[in-house]
Amino acid sequence: MSQRIEAKDLNIYYGSFLAVAGVTMSIEPRSVTALIGPSGCGKSTFLRTLNRMHEVIPGARVEGTVDIDGVDLYAPGVDPVAVRRQVGMVFQRPNPFPTMSIAENVLAGVRLNNRRINKSDAADLVEQSLRAANLWNEVKDRLDRPGSGLSGGQQQRLCIARAVAVRPRVLLMDEPCSALDPISTLAIEDLVAELKSSYTIIIVTHNMQQAARVSDRTGFFNLEEAGQPGRLVEIDDTATIFSTPGKQATEDYISGRFG
């Protein structure tokens, strides 16, 4: 279910502005890759190119290739909608659909793919996905209540359940804990560790401890100055990055001597 991802010479634009330049990166299946770096360095922008969400913004475009399972996402004729069904995404702020119940939220993506899903299959899938997101025990008695009534941390886990319910190959997480309190953050981090056995996970985070805790490999993005494009400075095993990084800029950032 999980696949190797190869990004090659990615240049990412907003209109004529080059936001991220020359990213080449390869990501192993069933691993967690953390992307760290200062604000505005392009790590979220890069993440959004991996499921073609970047081009949702008017004027945004991408040069280069992203191969998943040997297929270039940006080849002509590839349908971005099909890509997004295979590469799930969890956003910075929890965004369950406010007009849907908890169960409907989990099934939202499945219903897009396959309108006719029978009742017991649907119930099974809801339970399975909510269990995968460590949320089942907290919500099993109120599946028909609105998802927006849950706490922030629960909402974010509901969003993860919604993303895994469609069985994506890859799961992208864009600062999934930045709006959450420490306890909810811990719950999400545990969940990431569990999900790793079935999915390839890429997580953008501002929290370096979090990167060190959850990831196998860490990529450091930086930009030389404002107005310049962000670049991938280096990517290596997390232990290496946090002990003996190869570049001075990485060491400065990690040890807090940045800027």
Partner: protein, 370 residues
Amino acid sequence: MLENGALENGLENGDGLENGDASENGDASENGDASENGDASTRRAAVAVADRLAVTGRRSGRGLDRGFRYLAVTSGVLIVMVLAAVAIFLVVQAWPALRAGRSVSDEVGWIPDGSSVLEAVGPLVFGTVLAALVALAVAVPVAIGIALFISHYAPRRLASALGYLVDLLAAIPSVVYGLWGVMVLAPLLHPVFSWLVRWLGWIPLFAGDSAGNASNPPRVLMTASLVLAVMILPIITAVCREVFLTTPTLHEEAALALGATRWEMIRMAVLPYGRSGIVSASMLGLGRALGETMAVLMVLSPGMLYSLKMLVGSQQQTIAANIAAKFNDASPMGHSALIATGLALFVITMMVNMAARAIVARRKDFSGAN
């Protein structure tokens, strides 16, 4: 009345958003608690600053504050008083005709012999509601389509131009709509109506006259309804467009990231979020359609029947058009009878408004306002 309702509904939505933010603040303050013990001195400094601001602000600020409060309260009371005044006026003026019972028909020409005002107002209410509902049924889907095109499909420049054009429709006086309805729309519609009578005549709304034909010229309720539909299109479109534009990007991206197409995204995120706004917009439109006078007066050949035949003339009449047609040369009792029909219109619009609120409130938990 109706406009008030819609505005308040709009405000409710606004409150909802604020609530959303408030819960976030809650989270933030929890985080803040962790660092609470350290910063007593910072807080004292902050309090001192706040005091100083209050002290300097007091001289001019308080007076303004009080003045504004009186202004707001007065306005609030005023609207209630105006509403009450209108209601009282209607009841008082209608009373003679209501009390006269069946004898009113001797004095008032348009009331059938032997009918009381209440009996005579029935067909008018029927015609008014029928015309307005058909107008609404035609206008709402079109308005939602235009609003979605402007908010989610059209390139930005085209969208703003189109939005401007739709707003312009609202600026056309209703008498011009009436002229257009009689002189342009009606002749164009006649072949369509003939076709409807011929092939869909078994549907009561499209039934023909005794000879099985559509009236020609088609000064019929369907023509009036279509003119009304065009007239209420701008307000419904404008409100829907604003509501659709406020759909949080978060929800739209959530749908897109799940692999939704543009239309699926609209169905998952935009339409459910805008549901109460769509209802409010429709009720605004319905209010205008119920009360519209001039266009109906000019287009429709009136009758006083309970008739569903929308393609045949001299069947129905609306309350507002009837008042405008009969008021000038009415006797005192005639005035009173017409005002009684006005009272009926007032009650209908109020009920429509309350029904709309009930619809919006029914699924409040799921409205996105929590």
